[in-house]
């Protein structure tokens, strides 16, 4: 068995396991009850699944120029997936789409000011929930 055959089999294993991760995420997104649970399921193919598929692709192509572009795709995916997930999670939490009976710990609730509460750390450095309700900082860049 030559080296090329072994590498092709490794590539096939990587491709199939990446596709299996996608399938698991699809089932999870359909079956899980909550926005955050669905996000937990959906991030598997976005990072590990895509990386496994790219490893399989790189093992099949085996040229330096293609490898550069594959690495670029992987870096983009690793850099952008957490940012998008963070924004989705924050929007879900702020709009109250989080089912609190499913949470074990809600550490963010201890730092969130109550409605009409004037605690000293609310100096406009962070866009808070109460200020957004009043429409004061709706178009701020740090929102």
């Amino acid at each position: 068995m030559s080296v090329g055959t072994v590498v092709d089999w490794l590539a096939a294993v990587a491709l199939v396991s990446g596709a299996l991760l996608s399938l698991a995420a699809g089932i999870g997104v359909l079956r899980f009850p909550d926005v955050l649970d669905r996000m937990h399921a959906a991030t598997k193919p976005q990072v590990l699944g895509v990386l496994l598929l790219l490893v399989g692709l790189a093992l099949r192509l085996r040229t330096a120029a293609d490898l550069g572009m594959i690495v670029l795709v992987g870096v983009f995916q690793l850099a952008t997936a957490p940012v998008a997930a963070q924004m989705i999670g924050r929007a879900a939490y702020r709009s109250g789409r989080v089912d609190r009976s499913l949470l074990d710990v809600d550490e963010l609730a201890e730092h969130r000011p109550e409605e009409g509460d004037s605690r000293p750390e609310r100096d406009g450095s962070r866009p808070e929930r109460g200020e957004q309700r009043r429409g004061g900082s709706r178009s701020g860049p740090g929102e």
């Binding site: 092709d8 590539a11 096939a12 491709l15 199939v16 990446g18 596709a19 299996l20 996608s22 399938l23 995420a25 699809g26 089932i27 997104v29 359909l30 926005v35 669905r38 996000m39 959906a42 193919p45 976005q46 699944g49 895509v50 598929l53 790219l54 399989g56 692709l57 099949r60 192509l61 040229t63 120029a65 293609d66 572009m69 594959i70 670029l72 795709v73 983009f76 995916q77 952008t80 997936a81 940012v83 998008a84 924004m87 989705i88 924050r90 929007a91 879900a92 702020r94 709009s95 789409r97 957004q132 309700r133 429409g135 709706r138 929102e143």
Partner: protein, 87 residues
């Protein structure tokens, strides 16, 4: 081996796309739909990459770069729109 690999990958990735489409159809809120659209785009990314790997050509690699950036821009824009709508 190539034919079997192509069939297995097609079945797995298209099942994922169908499940994501079902969640886009059913999803109660906009955020569920954004998550499912992200998953659909990840499945498309995987499908384009798998096709290039099975047929051993590199012509669709720029498409992969564009897709990986497009998902980010689309989901961030939709989530900002959703957050503005809620407040």
């Amino acid at each position: 081996m190539t034919v079997v690999l192509a069939i297995v990958l097609t079945v797995l990735l298209s099942t994922t796309a169908l499940l994501a489409l079902a969640r886009i159809y059913r999803g109660p809120s906009l955020l569920d739909r954004v998550i499912a659209a992200d998953l659909l785009l990840a499945a498309m990314l995987g499908a384009v990459g798998a096709e290039a790997a099975v047929n051993r050509h590199a012509t669709t690699l720029p498409v992969l770069v564009v897709l990986s950036l497009l998902g980010f821009v689309g989901s961030v824009a939709l989530v900002r729109f959703a957050a503005r709508e809620e407040s």
